[in-house]
């Protein structure tokens, strides 16, 4: 993974009002999460991948139900540098609503999962996509009243991305 693509991803995610940063290694994940998140917050983490399991260890108040959690921490399927987007999928029994219902979404993105362009990503999934694929770019937003931007409508009002 060239660091050029990672920089482009971080830059574009930031432009879409996501709080995106880079972690040198997975070892500092626990410490980063402790600093990033309020200690008492209820957090949903599926604990399916290695990264998610190491994130889980740092949680004070883990909950099993994403619908009532204040925060969701999860590893995502991919990132797209061109747009600063994350990709969530319903594959492997993952719940696509875990990134939708809690007010804050913390995405764990291994650097090698970042695609340079939209074309690079879609070429791989076009023939046989999973039931749900969601590209997420920044927090939920609307401008339906006098075109005034309001962040956090039905989806999360805060999106953090940790590129690892």
């Amino acid at each position: 993974m060239s660091s050029d693509i990672i920089e482009r991803f971080l830059d574009n995610a930031g432009k879409a009002a996501a709080n995106a940063s880079r972690l040198k290694s997975a070892r500092s994940l626990g410490k980063t999460l402790t600093e990033l998140l309020p200690a008492e917050a209820s957090v949903y983490c599926p604990g399916k991948s290695k990264l998610e399991q190491s994130a889980e260890k740092a949680l004070k108040n883990p909950v099993g139900d994403y619908a009532s959690a204040e925060i969701c921490i999860e590893e995502v399927l991919a990132g797209i540098a061109e747009t600063g987007s994350l990709v969530c999928s319903s594959d492997e029994g993952r719940a696509v609503q875990a990134s939708l219902l809690p007010a804050r979404h913390v995405a764990l993105l291994p650097a090698e999962k970042i695609f340079a362009t939209l074309d690079d990503f879609f070429a791989g999934v076009a023939a046989d996509p999973p039931t749900n694929l969601t590209l997420i770019t920044g927090p939920s937003r609307t401008a339906d009243i006098e075109l005034t931007l309001a962040i956090g409508v039905h989806g999360p009002g805060q999106l953090d991305i940790l590129v690892i």
Binding site: Q97, I145, L147
Partner: protein, 455 residues
């Protein structure tokens, strides 16, 4: 909006809209903002014209082979676990959707924004059948509370001020008055969240459907589209047949064009791709997915001279730059789709008899053609419709007589000169008798005509 009137009264509607100062202010603010944002959003695209050309080529290729693509889509979506239905017109689609809901005992439906559902008046029909329909896009929710129709295809409540929305929420929802858009958005979030979970079904449109994989895609910002399509046990998608694309491989081209053209965003917050119903090992997603492919006049348009209108991807860029739309707003057009794309599509879908007055709703300035992301030749299409209006006998007899007289005079120099002299001589009488309407709108004849001065 009424389907029963004999023709859409664009002139009277427009005259009324022009007198509404708050509407004009809101329109100017919104269309200017979108115009500016669109401009800066495309600055990062190195060759915009090539991108538009590619998009146009893809859309034309779909239209040229639409029946084959529809079959391919149906087979793929069925393989993925969806049920695909074909509806010839609005009545058939409404009947199918009502039946699907009734068979499952559905009482309440959460709905995502869908212009094609507006086109067939789906909500009114479902409500008559005893099913509660809740619009969940903020703009659609506002106009549903107000019992209005959208005035813009991207921002349905573009005509409403924050004070009007504040009073509406206070009246209908019993909440304290606020005119802060953030506060109003929060209120809608709270009210609607319960609805998503209580809904027996979700109904949405789709921006595109993909023949290769049977997938659907929705571009949304709020997250209501994700809720509607994945939380209720039943998801019904309604889309018109021309919305197909060959493969998800073509989606990037349209991701680059559609949000930039619509709101000036590089991409919407969410792009949801749905392929079939929930599989056995999956945790979320609708258990049942029904896709209604609606023709409602598209096949007829496809066979005619204005088929390029079907390339439209509903971005709304043409209305934001249109001097007519910017002045009168969407409701003046009297039907579902406003602006340049709207007047052409409305005319093609509802026929010349009903919508012949709409073909006047253009200055032919061509601003719409310049911004159209799929290069629809809108001015050419409007001219074709104007010609068709004359051929079908819907132009006024006064216009016809005037045009005939001009055609005769313009080809006989003696007659032309005589006409000019008469216009000069009778101008004082004509302008006095005609009053403000004539004197204010017609140019005063020159004392010495241009061609004489050039001699």
């Amino acid at each position: 909006m009424s389907d029963h009137q004999t023709s859409l009264d664009f002139r009277a509607n427009a005259a009324r809209a022009i007198k509404n100062a708050s509407l004009r202010g809101a329109l100017r603010n919104a269309t200017d903002t979108f115009g500016d944002r669109r401009g800066s959003a495309f600055e990062v695209i190195p060759d915009l014209d090539e991108l538009r050309e590619r998009a146009s080529t893809i859309r034309l290729e779909v239209l040229d082979n639409l029946p084959a693509y529809l079959d391919q889509f149906t087979a793929a979506a069925t393989r993925a676990g969806a049920k695909v239905h074909r509806a010839a017109d609005g009545a058939e689609a409404r009947g199918m959707i009502a039946a699907l809901l009734k068979e499952r005992g559905a009482k309440m439906v959460a709905k995502g924004k869908s212009m094609v559902s507006e086109e067939i008046h789906l909500n009114a029909h479902l409500e008559e059948a005893g099913i509660e329909v809740v619009e969940t896009d903020l703009g659609e929710y506002i106009i549903q509370l107000e019992h209005e129709t959208p005035s813009h295809i991207i921002v349905p409540a573009i005509h409403k001020t924050r004070q009007q929305v504040g009073r509406l929420f206070a009246d209908r929802l019993g909440v304290p008055y606020s005119e802060d858009p953030l506060e109003l958005t929060k209120i809608a979030r709270q009210v609607l969240r319960d609805k998503f979970f209580a809904a027996d079904a979700g109904i949405s449109g789709a921006n595109f459907a993909f023949a290769e994989s049977g997938s659907l895609v929705l571009f949304t910002n709020e997250g209501n589209g994700r809720m509607v399509t994945t939380i209720p046990p039943l998801h019904i998608v309604i889309l018109s047949v021309e919305k197909l694309l060959p493969s998800l491989r073509e989606l990037p081209t349209f991701i680059r064009l559609l949000p930039r053209s619509a709101t000036g965003q590089a991409i919407t917050s969410y792009v949801s791709i749905i392929t079939g119903a929930r599989k056995a090992e999956e945790l979320t997603g609708a258990k049942e997915l029904h896709i209604v492919l609606l023709d409602n006049g598209r096949s007829e348009i496809l066979a005619g001279a204005c088929r390029e209108m079907l390339k439209c991807i509903r971005c709304g860029a043409c209305m934001n730059v249109c001097p007519v739309y910017r002045t009168v707003g969407g409701h003046a057009y009297g039907w579902t789709y406003p602006g340049p794309m709207g007047l052409v599509l409305t005319n093609l879908l509802t026929g010349m008899k009903k919508s012949h007055p709409l073909v006047d709703a253009s200055t032919l300035c061509g601003a719409c053609v310049e911004v159209c992301p799929v290069k629809i030749p809108l001015v050419e299409l409007i001219l074709k419709l104007r010609q068709r209006r004359v051929e079908e006998g819907y132009s006024s007899s006064g216009t016809n007589l005037g045009m005939k007289m001009f055609a005769r005079a313009a080809t006989v120099p003696g007659l032309f000169n005589w006409g000019e002299r008469m216009a000069r001589i009778f101008w004082p009488v004509v302008s006095r008798l005609g009053g403000k309407d004539v004197a204010g709108r017609l140019p005063r004849p020159a004392d010495r005509p241009f061609h004489e001065r050039m001699k």
